[in-house]
């Protein structure tokens, strides 16, 4: 328990005693992560196959169809 407390205190003190520029870096990191995960990922980078609501078998069929369609049409 004391070890966990020590580790926690180490982190808390470390974050508290950071310089101004380090705190500014944390703000940049948080803004960046927010843009990436809350905006880009949610609105612009949906998983293409997941968004089609297909099960695993249907996903395989969809890809096989994509892989073989061209050849079929060009023959």
């Amino acid at each position: 328990m004391t070890i966990i407390k020590k580790i926690l205190n180490f982190y808390i003190e470390g974050f508290k005693n950071q310089s101004k520029s380090s705190k500014r870096l944390w703000v940049i990191i948080l803004i960046k992560l927010f843009i990436m995960f809350a905006i880009l990922k949610v609105f612009f980078f949906k998983d293409f196959l997941k968004s089609k609501n297909l099960n695993e078998q249907e996903k395989s069929e969809y890809i096989i169809n994509n892989l073989t369609k061209q050849n079929n049409e060009s023959n």
């Binding site: 003190e13 520029s21 870096l25 196959l49 096989i64 994509n66 050849n71």
Partner: protein, 510 residues
């Protein structure tokens, strides 16, 4: 023709290239500077000298800025896999899943845990543990790079996996074949050691600026000493791993090697182009000299590619149209085999659905017999298998030229700092400072050679880029392209501004 339209493919490629190039602005400095900091920290630990503490703290701070701004920029590439490259993502199966999961765990436990100890641990933890934390951050950063490079190497040389025609996914057969393929080993070693050069040149360049300004002279000299030794050793290693990589390219991706060398007509005792200017109107099939001007080192390309001075090295034309004497099959033949393989992938699944086991097995055999040429079935003409020769050629030669330049630069820096002659040579100090962007250029060019040179393939010989993309609207890819361009440009400006302000403040005297 149902192939996804080229403008979508090109925008998807441009977007991926943009994010990869921006991501790579941050990575090499993290990889290189982490080890330089670890060395400096070790010297401080062993000597207890306050000057070394100040040096370690300063470079650690710059490492922290670069790490903080660059962290997670690679995740965008993973977003793109799922959205823009869904055919490819599904097709590759476990190859990205397993290594990236390991990378995530490594990065989380090693980097995030020990980075905290490294930054917060001054006078708080045992000095030895603190110093070891710096080393663990360096090893953690480099190890997390290993997994993504292994995945990339698999795309250049797909071994250790087997394609399952029922699920359309590749499945891991032998993890060690994937991890220890020569392509993976050489790629990893070449990439990380070239990143050490970026770190070394950065430290030397910034330190040279201090000497030019007449500030922190002792700090700068000591930093240059460490960085030039580290850089010189790394440069020699980069040259050796580069040679191994080129040999591997010759074995696995001969078209890439031909493009790297602007070699159209294969030859025995083939010479290596030391300097060359390509003829701008050169076409694949014509007999024109591909060079306006070139200086070649006789037979060196044969030695580099085959470890044999008399060996034949195929050119673009040999690989596209075949060379009977050398046993090279023309791409038109491989296209036929590829189309047969694709056709029987379809038939196999149709027969399987109908419950026609005999026909399904027959189709499966034909599919598998022709699978190594699977990707060629998607090409419209044999010439489509040729990458952009000028871009690959110039990127390769500028990268190699800069590689040799850095060896000389490190020797000169080391000699002058060791003999205390540096502060009187303004031209050299300026050269050292302005070499910083050159190190980044060389590092990015390495990726351009690797990725442009392997076109049209996403997975060598198996899956071309044109069939890898998702059926998205081109406009949505264009929008996200510019969003990324904006986001990454802001990040890069932030990085440069914060770095410059810290550099101007300089190290704290302790």
């Amino acid at each position: 023709m149902s192939q996804i339209d080229l403008s979508l493919v090109d925008w998807s490629r441009a977007q991926f290239a943009l994010t990869a190039i921006y991501h790579w602005f941050f990575v090499p400095l993290t990889l290189g500077l982490s080890f330089i900091v670890a060395f400096m920290h070790t010297i401080y630990y062993r000597t207890g000298n306050k000057e070394w503490e100040s040096i370690t703290r300063f470079w650690m701070k710059l490492f922290g800025i670069n790490f903080a701004i660059g962290v997670a920029t690679g995740i965008i590439l993973e977003f793109e896999f799922g959205t823009n490259w869904s055919n490819y993502s599904w097709f590759v199966g476990d190859i990205f899943g397993a290594p990236l999961a390991i990378e995530g765990i490594m990065a989380f436990f090693l980097e995030s845990t020990f980075i905290a100890v490294m930054f917060f641990g001054w006078n708080k933890v045992n000095k030895k543990f603190h110093m070891i934390s710096s080393w663990l951050v360096a090893f953690g950063s480099n190890l997390s790079a290993l997994w993504i490079l292994v995945a990339n190497a698999w795309m250049q040389n797909p071994v250790g996996m087997k394609f399952n025609p029922e699920t359309a996914r590749n499945e891991m057969q032998n993890f060690w074949d994937v991890l220890l393929s020569p392509t993976a080993v050489h790629k990893f070693l070449h990439t990380i050691t070239s990143s050490y050069i970026v770190g070394a040149v950065f430290v030397i360049g910034v330190s040279a600026w201090y000497i030019l300004k007449g500030r922190h002279i002792i700090f700068a000299r000591k930093s240059i000493l460490i960085a030039s030794i580290f850089g010189l050793l790394s440069s020699v290693f980069v040259a050796a791993t580069g040679d191994n990589s080129a040999y591997d390219v010759a074995q696995q991706q001969p078209m890439k090697l031909a493009a790297m060398e602007g070699l159209y007509k294969g030859d025995t005792n083939a010479g290596l182009v030391a300097i060359g200017i390509l003829a701008p109107n050169k076409e694949i099939k014509d007999v024109e000299n591909p060079f306006i001007f070139s200086i070649k080192i006789p037979s060196l390309l044969s030695i580099l590619a085959e470890r044999d001075v008399n060996a034949f090295v195929p050119g673009v034309n040999d690989l596209v149209y075949g060379n009977k004497d050398q046993g090279i099959v023309p791409i038109s033949e491989r296209m036929k085999k590829g189309k047969t393989s694709i056709e029987h992938l379809k038939k196999f699944n149709e027969h399987k659905k109908q419950g026609n086991t005999t026909e399904a097995e027959r189709s499966l055999k034909i599919f598998e017999d022709n699978y190594k040429d699977f990707g060629y079935g998607y090409l419209n003409k044999p010439e489509d298998a040729v990458p952009n020769v000028p871009l690959t050629f110039y990127s390769f030669h500028i990268m190699v030229g800069l590689g040799f330049f850095f060896i000389v630069l490190f020797i000169i820096a080391l000699y002058n700092v060791a003999t205390d002659k540096l502060k009187n040579k303004k031209w050299l100090l300026k050269l050292l400072l302005w070499s910083i962007p050159l190190a980044y250029i060389a590092s990015e060019l390495g990726w351009i050679v690797a990725e442009v040179g392997r076109q049209p393939w996403t997975i060598q010989d198996i899956l071309p880029v044109s069939i890898s993309t998702s059926h998205l609207s081109t406009s949505s890819v264009i929008i996200t392209f510019f969003m990324f361009a904006t986001l990454f440009t802001i990040l890069l400006i932030a990085e440069v501004k914060i770095m410059l302000s810290q550099i101007k403040s300089g190290p704290k005297e302790l």
